[in-house]
């Protein structure tokens, strides 16, 4: 374990940024936090987490796949992938780190998504333990320890210092490059902090949210529950929950005609949208209730069924905070869990 005084944090950031693009949560004009590329003068946000999850780094909202150049009646297909530099994401919370596992299982199993894989291979994740979880946090429900975040390097912040522990080869290499600014230390402080956080977790209002009653094989039991009507009745059908969600991974592929070429790109899609997975025959989910149900059944039943019981929710609480009508996965789990 190595530590660094917070006084030197900007030197540390500068050092990281020498070899790779560094992204960290910075405060935006509206007071919220967002990952921004670090540059001299950037201020690290105090917020618990960013509004947008860090999934953008590996699975951006829009990504060009290829381009068809048209000239008269001829068409040429152009690969639009650019070489990618290494980058470091700093300050990723435990829940969001876990979300990468969820995404990996979608994008890195055969057939591997080469766009995702390329970005993933270039990214180094420095996670950060949560000292002050919010009332909307329920990562524990999914077995995530906010005091011991995974990632290439785990970090713990105190009033004066920041502690680092490398977990992977990539992490070790990066930490070694920072040896001039960090010093070796024992884990006393970190252990104390871990204990404190774990104790605090019992105070969280959502500590009792449980996955009991969900998981693979529950489709038949849950699919036709009458509660879906009530739960979905106020849903506006917007994409807020899916777009702030760190694990939602659905996308649409579209063509944009620039006049001189056609750009084929993919962009996030939302199962809440009426044209989601629309096919030539029409749409297979016709009402907002069906679309609403799809989202939660996917996170809590279908995904675990296909992924050894892993849920595709990490309890980050973003949807709780941002849904315009305050309907969210916790309310769904409480309502139909154990039915």
């Amino acid at each position: 374990m190595r530590k660094c005084s917070l006084e030197k944090i900007n030197l540390l950031f500068a050092e990281i940024a020498k070899n790779a693009e560094l992204y960290l949560p910075t405060q935006q004009t509206d007071g919220s936090a967002a990952y921004k590329k670090w540059e001299e003068g950037s201020v690290w946000s105090n917020a618990l987490n960013t509004v947008r999850s860090p999934k953008d780094f590996f699975f951006p909202q829009t990504e060009n796949l290829m381009k068809f150049k048209t000239e008269g009646k001829s068409i040429e297909v152009v690969d639009t992938r650019n070489a990618l530099d290494d980058f470091v994401i700093f300050g990723v919370r435990a829940c969001d780190v876990k979300s990468f596992d969820v995404l990996d299982r979608v994008f890195l199993t055969e057939p591997v998504d080469s766009f995702y894989a390329l970005r993933r291979s270039h990214g180094v994740i420095i996670s950060l333990a949560c000292q002050r979880p919010s009332e909307t946090c329920f990562c524990k429900t999914f077995g995530i320890d906010p005091a011991a975040p995974a990632g290439d390097i785990s970090a713990w912040k105190t009033e004066t210092e920041i502690f680092f522990e490398a977990n992977t080869q990539k992490g070790k290499e990066l930490l070694e490059k920072l040896s001039a600014l960090t010093e070796e230390c024992d884990d006393t402080v970190v252990s104390e902090q871990k204990e404190k956080i774990n104790k605090f977790m019992d105070k969280l209002p959502l500590k009792n949210v449980t996955t009991d009653g969900f998981g693979g094989g529950k489709t038949k039991e849950l699919f036709d529950l009458p509660e879906w009507d009530e739960l979905s009745q106020a849903c506006l059908g917007c994409g807020t929950c899916t777009f702030v969600c760190p694990t939602c991974q659905c996308y649409d592929i579209k063509d944009f005609n620039t006049g001189n070429s056609v750009i084929r790109f993919r962009c996030w899609d939302s199962c809440m949208y009426s044209d989601f997975t629309k096919m030539a025959h029409g749409n297979n989910r016709l009402s907002q209730k069906e679309r609403f149900r799809q989202r939660f059944m996917h996170k809590l039943v279908y995904y675990p069924e296909n992924n050894d019981g892993m849920f595709s929710c990490v309890g980050c609480g973003r949807c709780l905070a941002k849904c315009p009508i305050s309907m969210n996965i916790v309310k769904v789990m409480k309502k139909i869990g154990g039915k």
Binding site: N257, T258, G282, L286, S287
Partner: protein, 664 residues
């Protein structure tokens, strides 16, 4: 995908002088959809057109682009060419490379470059064109004239004389309108009744004209060529076809003290009445608000004295439905109320009267049998003050008057003043005016005669106040030319009240979806080029409902409206412009924005049942465009947020394709 043919015209050297036509034809060859591209010296010539026809057939073209002169020049020509070769004429697009390219750019390189881009835009558009067929609708060969004044009468006679049946709807018991109330007419001073009543008789006797008097239009549906109109015939409690108009009932009616509308309340009439001697139809009408029999069931005198047995106290309002091909609005005007003009003491003194009242006072058939006597004491007035522009040209007093010029007042006041001086030379006559406006044939001569021959005292200036004092009216006025205040002791003050559209016009406009201006005058389809047509197809305007007018103007406009109606009714079918709006009802919200901006009232709404995506059904309100009425301006398309409303021939996607092609 279309199979597009491109035809680049040289127009001799007009185009070829600054545009490399061969290069244009070559460049456009590789555009999407293009399967044929050629150039020729004169595309519009027979040989050029034959070339297009052959290419259409040989290359199975589904669309053509002609790069030539302005579409305003030869679009119609090339559409005919296409049609002759079996291609829908609306599959033709023109790239204007002459007026908007070769003629305005000097440099060959620039001209050629731009011509190629304009060609590309036209190709991009034609790729999205769809064959269009103009709609056809039958024409009901009958016209409706609303209003039976001189405007309505003239229009009806002209239409009927051309052989088409006409119905006149008049809300009063007789036709004749305002003109029937007038004494003499300017500038010829012939008697109004003498020239109007023969026309009224012509109307009554015309076998193609029906008169619905004492009636009003209550509902209008349909569109040009196919209006469906409901007429409410108010109960007059007299059988129209039985009454002989003998007048026995009028004489015997015991309820004699009802203010006589025809004489503007300056004398009385009985409860059963015939407005005036030459009324058409000449039948009696019972005033239900005055008749004791109808109100209390007591009396029945008229019924007893009627030899023909025409009285029917049980008569009910009758509703008549009729179909019309065209509707003429001739609802006329009224003087505005003088209630708000306290400064002229209209409501304080009986001797302050309006010009129309003056007409009745000097009319031989009027309340004083044509003698000019003061209403208050029946004495002959020695000093008369005429006040011009009472409520007209009131820029600062819009809340009580009108901002516009009422147009007829200058002339009738000159007439009144002249006639007064002629009959009663001992009378002093003053006319206070802002300006004297006499722009009509023999108008200014007429006015000058009033001043020069008859000694009417015209004073430029306004009357500030009229105060009744004893049997005099103290008139305070300013003379702007002499720059002094005047105090005149008048015996009679005559106000040239502004005129305004009849109150029935506004609800009628709503029924007809015809537009009105802020003063409630009907708007014409084009102020210069289509002055007697309303923007709503099939609705025509006659007389003062469109704006203040004197008699000759009204009659000429009436004739013009009639000729437009005749032109319409002479057709068996109406062929529409196929470039009309159409609403995609699956996307329409029924919000009414489109109807709000449609100048033609072409959009209506229907409740329709839809299968929703979730397999349920839902009844929704959706817009429906009547293609026979729509003129294709596109105002609705932009106001529609969902894009449900689009314009055929100029569709959103077509225009955006042009934009894209130009900008790439």
């Amino acid at each position: 995908m279309q199979r597009v043919g491109v035809f680049v015209c040289w127009c001799g050297t007009n185009i070829a002088g600054t545009v490399d036509v061969v290069a244009v034809a070559e460049a456009l060859k590789s555009e999407p959809g293009v399967v044929f591209s050629a150039n020729y010296q004169y595309m519009c010539s027979q040989a050029g057109q034959d070339m297009i026809k052959e290419a259409i057939k040989e290359h199975k073209l589904t669309g053509i682009v002609v790069c030539s002169c302005s579409p305003r020049m030869h679009e119609a020509t090339f559409r005919k060419t296409a049609a002759a070769a079996g291609l829908n004429p609306y599959m033709v697009e023109i790239a204007n490379i002459r007026e908007q390219c070769s003629w305005v750019h000097k440099d060959m390189l620039t001209g050629t470059e731009k011509a190629i881009i304009l060609g590309k835009a036209a190709i991009a558009k034609v790729n999205l064109n769809a064959p269009l067929t103009p709609g056809e609708s039958p024409v009901t060969k009958r016209a409706l004239v609303i209003g039976g004044g001189i405007a309505g009468i003239q229009t009806a006679l002209d239409i009927a004389d051309a052989g088409f049946p006409v119905d006149i709807v008049e809300k009063k018991p007789t036709i004749g309108g305002k003109m029937a109330q007038l004494d003499k007419t300017f500038p010829t001073l012939d008697c109004a009744a003498c020239i109007l009543t023969p026309k009224m008789v012509d109307v009554a006797q015309h076998d193609k004209i029906r008169i619905f008097s004492y009636s009003e239009v209550t509902e209008v549906n349909g569109f040009v060529g196919n209006f469906d109109v409901t007429i409410k015939k108010n109960a007059r409690y007299v059988k129209e076809d039985v009454c002989t108009g003998c007048g026995a009932c009028v004489e015997k009616c015991p309820m004699k003290r009802i203010p006589n509308e025809f004489n503007l309340g300056m004398d009385n009439r009985p409860a059963i009445y015939i407005p005036f001697a030459q009324a058409v139809p000449k039948v009696a009408t019972i005033d239900p608000n005055a008749c004791n029999m109808l109100k209390n069931g007591k009396c029945g005198v008229c019924s007893k004295v009627c030899a023909a047995g025409a009285i029917d106290y049980t008569q009910k309002d009758e509703y008549i439905n009729e179909k019309y091909g065209a509707i003429v609005v001739a609802t006329g005007f009224n003087p505005i109320s003088m209630d708000k003009f306290d400064e002229y003491a209209y409501n304080q003194s009986k001797d302050v009267i309006t010009s129309l009242e003056f007409e009745r006072l000097t009319n031989a058939a009027g309340p004083s049998a044509g003698k000019l006597l003061r209403p208050s004491d029946g004495k002959h007035p020695h000093t008369i003050v005429f006040v011009q522009c009472v409520g007209s040209r009131c820029e600062s007093c819009a809340e009580k008057g009108k901002e516009y010029c009422s147009k007829i007042c200058c002339m009738y006041t000159a007439k009144h003043a002249m006639l007064t001086r002629d009959k009663y030379p001992d009378t002093e006559v003053y006319v206070f005016y802002i300006d004297v406006r006499t722009p009509g044939k023999n108008f200014d001569e007429f006015y000058r005669r009033a001043v020069e021959e008859y000694g009417v005292k015209y004073v430029k200036g306004m009357v500030g106040k009229v105060v009744p004092e004893g049997d005099k009216l103290k008139v305070q006025a300013s003379d702007l030319i002499a720059n002094k205040q005047l105090h005149i002791d008048a015996d009679l003050v005559v106000l040239a009240a502004a005129i305004e559209p009849d109150k029935s016009a506004r609800p009628l406009a709503t029924m007809l979806t015809a537009s009105m201006d802020t003063n409630d005058f009907f708007t014409e389809a084009h102020p210069k080029l289509r002055p007697v047509e309303s923007p709503t197809a099939g609705v025509f305007l006659s007389g003062a409902c469109q704006g203040p007018k004197d008699i000759p103007e009204t009659v000429s406009q009436a004739g013009a409206a009639a000729s437009k109606v005749i032109g319409l009714l002479a057709k068996d079918k109406l062929t529409g412009n196929p470039c009309v709006a159409n609403s995609n009802e699956l996307m329409c919200n029924g919000c009414s924005s489109c109807a709000n901006v449609c100048p033609y009232g072409a959009i209506t709404y229907e409740d329709k049942e839809f299968r929703m995506p979730d397999r349920t059904t839902k009844v929704r309100r959706v817009a429906v465009v009547n293609p026979a009425v729509c003129q294709g301006c596109g105002a609705c398309t932009v106001t529609c947020p969902s894009g449900a409303m689009d314009l055929k021939g100029f569709a959103n996607l077509q225009i955006m394709a042009e934009v894209d092609a130009i900008c790439k």
